[in-house]
């Protein structure tokens, strides 16, 4: 039995190694950015244009404790935005510019605050439509063109077609490898631990894509080599044989190391996710060729990627989730939202109803950001898993 084979020293050693992200992503973690960075927040930001301009797109994770930020925003406001603002107040000097999106009410106000109170760092807001049709794609293509002009101003010269093409290739490759990695993770959750998985996700959003890709390729190469030598050392990337139920996580900007550690220790079998910090970022390629307009292809990709709750059509989002649940034999859903995210909060009544009809239990959690208190959440997750 696979389980028996895995319970060996050899397995533990390999597992330890695989989860040593610092080791595999050493270059990514230590390389000094030679290129200037442009900050971004939302997965609807076309990174391709930032790269084409010669900049490094860096997602602001806002790992700062909220202190000064409180005097700019109300108490009941998205904690990711507050942390993001806190980190801009502290370190915005490292950025050449910041790109916001019209993703939600919170982000609109965040852009206002940054434009008013952040001296010397230019900010731009990209208007992302809520609809997904031909007209909205054309409209979005025009808006992206405007964003391109903003970047060209920073660059001091025009961005040419070839630069965009190269950027598309680069980011497409990143998406492809991240997808490969996530498939391995879902397949073998006892091999790759949850915190390691999300660490790689984070690095993919905050690092120079070329250096990161280099590291990721080597990492995947190592994982692949284990698979090939599986008979020799008793480890293989077989589907997880544990008897625990497959769980799906649905959330927004969930990037809470302590939460991942907690879930990992609880042996939670994460079989699918719908998160802004993971699959909503990397799923779906930009399809080029056939004389297609490049900007239009990029627009199409972003509008049709796994949609965020901000989009107009909750019905198709629910259908998307339903398909994933069926395909991956999900037995329970953990819905986890940062507090005060209206788009998420409004999605819950219908989701709950839909899951009820499917007979899938769901646990509702709302959390702060960077301020995770394990106690109560642990008890609730435990009770939920036991119930399954």
């Amino acid at each position: 039995m696979t389980q028996d084979i895995r319970d060996t020293d050899n397995f533990d050693k390999t597992r330890k190694k695989i989860n040593d992200i610092k080791f595999f992503f050493g270059n990514t973690l230590t390389s000094e950015n030679k290129k200037a960075a442009i900050g971004w927040f939302c997965t609807y930001t076309p990174e391709e244009l930032i790269i084409a301009g010669g900049f490094v797109p860096v997602r602001i994770f806002g790992r700062k404790k909220i202190i000064k930020s409180e005097s700019y925003f109300p108490i009941n406001f998205c904690p990711y935005i507050k942390s993001g603002w806190e980190s801009l107040l502290a370190d915005a000097d490292n950025l050449k510019a910041i790109i916001f999106t019209n993703s939600c009410d919170g982000m609109r106000r965040f852009f206002d605050i940054a434009s008013k109170y952040l001296d010397g760092i230019p900010s731009y807001l990209l208007d992302v439509p809520h609809l997904k049709n031909r007209d909205s794609r054309d409209f979005f293509t025009g808006n992206m063109d405007d964003m391109k002009k903003f970047i060209e101003k920073l660059k001091g010269e025009k961005i040419n077609e070839e630069e965009i093409e190269n950027a598309v290739k680069l980011i497409n490759k990143k998406r492809k490898l991240l997808k490969e990695f996530s498939n391995i993770f879902y397949k073998s959750p006892d091999l790759i631990e949850i915190p390691a998985y999300y660490k790689v996700m984070e690095l993919s959003m905050i690092s120079d894509p070329e250096i990161f890709l280099d590291d990721l390729e080597k990492y995947l190469g190592f994982i692949g080599s284990i698979d090939k030598t599986s008979t020799k050392n008793g480890i293989s990337l077989q589907p997880d044989q544990r008897n625990s139920p497959s769980i799906m996580i649905i959330g927004n900007f969930i990037a809470e190391d302590k939460l991942w550690e907690m879930l990992s220790k609880m042996n939670l079998k994460l079989a699918s996710e719908d998160l802004c910090t993971s699959n909503r970022y990397f799923v779906k390629q930009v399809v080029t060729g056939d004389n297609k307009d490049l900007m239009e292809s990029i627009a199409e990709r972003y509008l049709n990627k796994p949609q965020c709750m901000r989009m107009a059509d909750p019905g198709s989002k629910l259908a998307e989730i339903e398909n994933v649940i069926i395909k991956n034999h999900i037995k329970g859903v953990i819905f986890i939202t940062l507090k005060f995210c209206d788009n998420m909060l409004y999605s819950f009544p219908l989701l709950k109803q839909r899951l009820n009809n499917m007979g899938i239990p769901v646990l509702y959690l709302d959390i702060e950001y960077n301020n995770f208190s394990e106690g109560q959440i642990k008890t609730r997750v435990q009770a939920f898993l036991e119930m399954l």
């Binding site: 005097s71 700019y72 925003f73 109300p74 009941n76 406001f77 998205c78 019209n102 939600c104 009410d105 919170g106 609109r108 106000r109 965040f110 852009f111 206002d112 605050i113 434009s115 008013k116 807001l125 208007d127 439509p129 809520h130 609809l131 007209d135 909205s136 409209f139 025009g142 901000r310 107009a312 059509d313 909750p314 019905g315 507090k339 005060f340 209206d342 788009n343 909060l345 409004y346 999605s347 819950f348 009544p349 219908l350 709950k352 109803q353 509702y364 709302d366």
Partner: protein, 427 residues
């Protein structure tokens, strides 16, 4: 017990659709309605109540189908032109507060998993919908204008009534530009064509002619009211500019809205003429307050305190006429321009522009921003608004509370903060 209180207790005790319909059937009978109207202190209040009841009667009567739910900031001219009876759930949420029903509707919403962190206008409306207190809609038109809430909560209404195919979201762009107008106008046109194909009407610009004329008439009178108020030194105690949201939005494009705004003008004009005579006798002019965002719609003391303390709300930002005249020859473009001109859309600079101009035009001494719990779009701008007004030496009070849920507002705290602010104004 007066007629109003009887109405209130009646509905509190019989919270169901049948009772509401029966009640409307009785109260909307002309003689009863006009007798009820007489209980109000001014003609504008009288007409406001009469027209509200008549429009509700229409929405609740099965003979007036089709019925369309509309969110506050869509151009309701669309409904009127298409012959659809509009029904505004957010306005209804205000009524749930006024009638003391919010505890029940909010509780119902919670049991359907609406988080308590959401705006109570939507939560209460959703609770009422779950309690089946609203008429069944045939169409739903909403938008992402001003806030994210409507597009989301209205979709849930469409699922409840199994009319997802008749749910339309107008996706309003962030910036005012010719491309935005084109994108928006095309959407409005598509919605119109789709609804017409379902109702069997021929889409034709002539249907917009009368509605737009009336809407322009309303616009004209609303501007007149605004101009008059710029120089009004005092107000009748019963006047509250925050009561006219339904006619300003939901009835735009109807004769009723025009009549009502004419009446508001007449009432205030009469009062100002009377004032001119008395003004010399009064030596201490009132403090002039600019009101930002909405107000609590349940019984509260805020406006009594202000009045007692010789403070007058001289303008409310929501009464700002932000749009240009509509042109029925370009109906979709006109409505698109109207939506895009809304100062609650896009950058906060749009709102700040309106606020600063109003502060100047209405000679405000101070501003009160009612910080309604859960309204991210408005409260998220509070800091910038406060700082911008400070630059022109106008103090701002950010008053925390809830427009619908009385239990989410501490009356004592509101009072203390209000009094503190009045002291600042008088110092």
């Amino acid at each position: 017990m007066g007629i109003k209180d009887r109405l209130k207790t009646g509905i509190q005790k019989n919270l169901n659709l049948r009772y509401i319909k029966r009640l409307l059937g009785i109260i909307a009978l002309k003689p009863v309605l006009y007798a009820y109207g007489k209980t109000f202190p001014s003609a504008s209040d009288k007409y406001l109540n009469i027209f509200t009841i008549e429009s509700l009667k229409k929405a609740y009567s099965d003979n007036n189908r089709p019925i369309g739910y509309g969110s506050l900031f869509i151009p309701h001219e669309l409904f009127h032109a298409l012959g659809i009876t509009p029904f505004l759930p957010e306005v209804m949420a205000g009524f749930t507060a006024g009638l003391g029903l919010a505890p029940q509707t909010l509780k119902e919403a919670s049991s359907h998993w609406y988080s308590q962190d959401l705006c109570t206008f939507h939560r209460s409306a959703s609770g009422a919908a779950e309690l089946d207190l609203f008429p069944r809609p045939d169409y739903i038109i909403t938008s992402n204008l001003a806030c994210d809430a409507a597009q989301k909560s209205f979709y849930i209404h469409s699922v409840k009534h199994n009319i997802e195919k008749n749910f339309y979201l107008i996706d309003v762009p962030y910036r005012y530009s010719e491309e935005s107008i084109r994108y928006l106008a095309a959407q409005i046109k598509n919605i119109c064509t789709d609804i017409c194909s379902k109702t069997g009407k021929k889409p034709d610009i002539s249907m917009f002619e009368e509605t737009f004329e009336l809407s322009n008439e309303l616009r004209k009178w609303a501007i007149e009211v605004g101009s008059l108020r710029k120089n009004l030194a005092d107000y009748p105690s019963h006047f509250n500019g925050l009561n006219f949201i339904l006619p300003f939005h939901g009835l735009a494009g109807t004769r009723e809205a025009v009549i009502l705004y004419k009446e508001i003008y007449r009432d205030l004009k009469k009062y100002s003429d009377k004032q001119c005579k008395e003004i010399s006798e009064k030596n201490k002019p009132a403090k002039r307050i600019l009101w930002l965002h909405l107000k609590p719609y349940y019984r509260n003391e805020i406006f009594d305190i202000l009045y007692r303390e010789n403070c007058r709300v001289v303008f409310e930002e929501i009464n700002h006429v932000y749009w240009q005249e509509l042109d029925y020859k370009k109906p979709f473009e006109s409505l698109a321009r109207k939506m895009l001109s809304n100062f609650l859309g896009g950058s906060i600079d749009n709102r700040i522009g309106v606020i600063l101009k109003a502060a100047h035009d209405y000679k405000a001494d101070g501003a009160i921003l009612f910080s309604h719990w859960g309204c991210r779009q408005s409260n998220g701008g509070a800091r910038i608004i406060k700082d911008s007004l400070k630059k022109i030496n106008i103090p701002t009070l950010v008053l925390d509370g809830d427009c619908v849920d009385q239990n989410n507002s501490s009356q004592g705290q509101v009072k203390t903060r209000l009094q503190g602010f009045i002291e600042i104004l008088n110092s």
